[in-house]
């Protein structure tokens, strides 16, 4: 690449707008040619000075207010606010997201977290189960020794099914469900007139003993893991009562009153 050609490509080079091969060819030439290198330095200095020193004129608050009031006036006369304003806002949001995603480094932060996605799945499942008649339970029984064996042959793990009747959380039943790309056990408990669903499946990775609490769409969601299982509890109960329920499950599962074991054969207890 000769000097003439390099000079013609200088702006594209400094603005990083050339294709990679050309960019590298120019770079190579600049490394070898002090004259062209000096020109590139001068031009870079100018760009740096413009970026840093040239005045960026920011809109004054009065201008923003003026535009806003003009827009409000149009909305008031045409009644289009409800139709257009949200779209304008969603545009702003989409631009913000695009900028966020486009920034590369923060790319992975842009999407909802795995737990957030799972929360949505759990809520959807919880809502659907109550919406469709007969969907809530595949096996209806308040007896954990009826519910627990029912899962044999349907899941590759034995979910802990606890009897919490004396604590005020009688068992309603259980069913198969599908969450986090795998079949899971959905256990249904009741507290007064409120249903609680407890989703259980084997913990694939790390135990996360910390209990997480969320409120979404009026539902309380608690989730945690122990050494063998992940647990997601959801209900329209108040947070305190669902917390009590979660603590009971956590304690009793940990106390070994049930021995959940992945891919286990039915235990003697199950057979009884």
């Amino acid at each position: 690449m000769d000097c003439q050609r390099v000079l013609s490509l200088m702006d594209g080079y400094l603005d990083r707008e050339l294709d990679l091969t050309t960019q590298l060819a120019v770079e190579q030439h600049l490394a070898d040619c002090p004259a062209c290198f000096a020109i590139s330095q001068r031009q870079q200095a100018l760009s740096a000075a413009l970026g840093a020193e040239a005045r960026y004129h920011r809109a004054r608050p009065a201008l923003a207010a003026g535009i806003q009031s003009a827009l409000d006036k149009i909305d008031a006369t045409s009644g289009t606010k409800r139709r257009q304003a949200p779209r304008w806002l969603s545009l702003a949001a989409s631009v913000a997201i695009a900028a966020f995603v486009g920034s590369g480094i923060t790319y992975w932060l842009a999407g909802p977290s795995p737990d957030e996605l799972l929360t949505r799945e759990v809520i959807a499942s919880h809502v659907r189960a109550q919406m469709v008649a007969g969907r809530l339970t595949d096996v209806s029984s308040s007896d954990s020794h009826t519910v627990k064996p029912w899962f044999n042959g349907k899941l590759d793990f034995a979910p802990p099914v606890l009897d919490l009747t004396t604590q005020g959380f009688p068992l309603v039943g259980g069913r198969l469900d599908y969450l986090a790309n795998r079949p899971v056990a959905a256990l249904v408990y009741r507290h007064r007139q409120h249903l609680i669903q407890l989703y259980v499946w084997p913990a694939a990775d790390r135990p996360d003993a910390a209990r997480h609490a969320l409120t979404r769409q009026g539902y309380q969601v608690f989730y945690w893991s122990d050494n063998t299982m992940r647990y997601w509890a959801i209900s329209d109960l108040n947070a305190d009562e669902l917390k009590t329920f979660s603590s009971l499950i956590q304690e009793q599962a940990a106390a070994g009153r049930v021995m959940p074991a992945t891919r286990s054969l039915p235990t003697a207890e199950d057979m009884r």
Partner: protein
């Protein structure tokens, strides 16, 4: 509430070179952008808004006065290789990392940029102040990317030249 309002105002202010005019034109353009929002079918909202603002500025310039460049643009002069620094104080020969413009230099740079012919000025504003890519600039200015590239090259050369020349005069 209004995204890219600063970018819109900055472009208008540099094109019209007057606060009050830039206010008026930006307001009109933004209100129009909002009303015709249905014509926006996704894509880059910033370039979309800047395109509308630029149109409004050109319309305003056409209606109110012919854009007269206060700086004679000498094709012959600027197309020559201006790699030789003009004698005298030349801050751009410095290492860019160490570049520090004195107040006077900063004012001069500002004035030289403001006095560049319109098409070079707007290209430089979109690139250096707004940080748009060549492709985005070509969208806003509705010219091919090759034209963006040549306007940037010529605009920068001219700016350096004027800066150096004025610096010598003032020195």
């Amino acid at each position: 509430m209004l995204p890219h309002l600063d970018a819109a105002y900055n472009l208008a202010r540099w094109l019209l070179r007057n606060d009050a005019d830039a206010d008026d034109v930006t307001q009109e353009a933004c209100v129009r952008a909002y009303r015709f929002f249905d014509s926006f079918h996704g894509g880059n909202a910033k370039t979309w808004l800047l395109t509308i603002v630029r149109h409004a500025c050109y319309t305003w310039l056409k209606q109110h006065r012919a854009e007269k460049s206060t700086m004679p643009f000498d094709e012959q002069q600027h197309s020559s290789n201006n790699s030789d620094p003009v004698d005298g104080h030349d801050p751009f020969s410095a290492n860019p990392e160490a570049l520090f413009l004195q107040d006077a230099d900063r004012r001069l740079l500002h004035r030289c940029l403001e006095e560049l012919p319109l098409e070079f000025r707007e290209t430089l504003i979109l690139r250096e102040l707004e940080g748009l890519s060549y492709k985005e600039i070509s969208t806003v200015m509705e010219v091919p990317i090759g034209t963006v590239m040549s306007r940037l090259a010529r605009g920068r050369a001219l700016l350096q030249q004027q800066f150096a020349a004025n610096n010598v005069q003032e020195a």
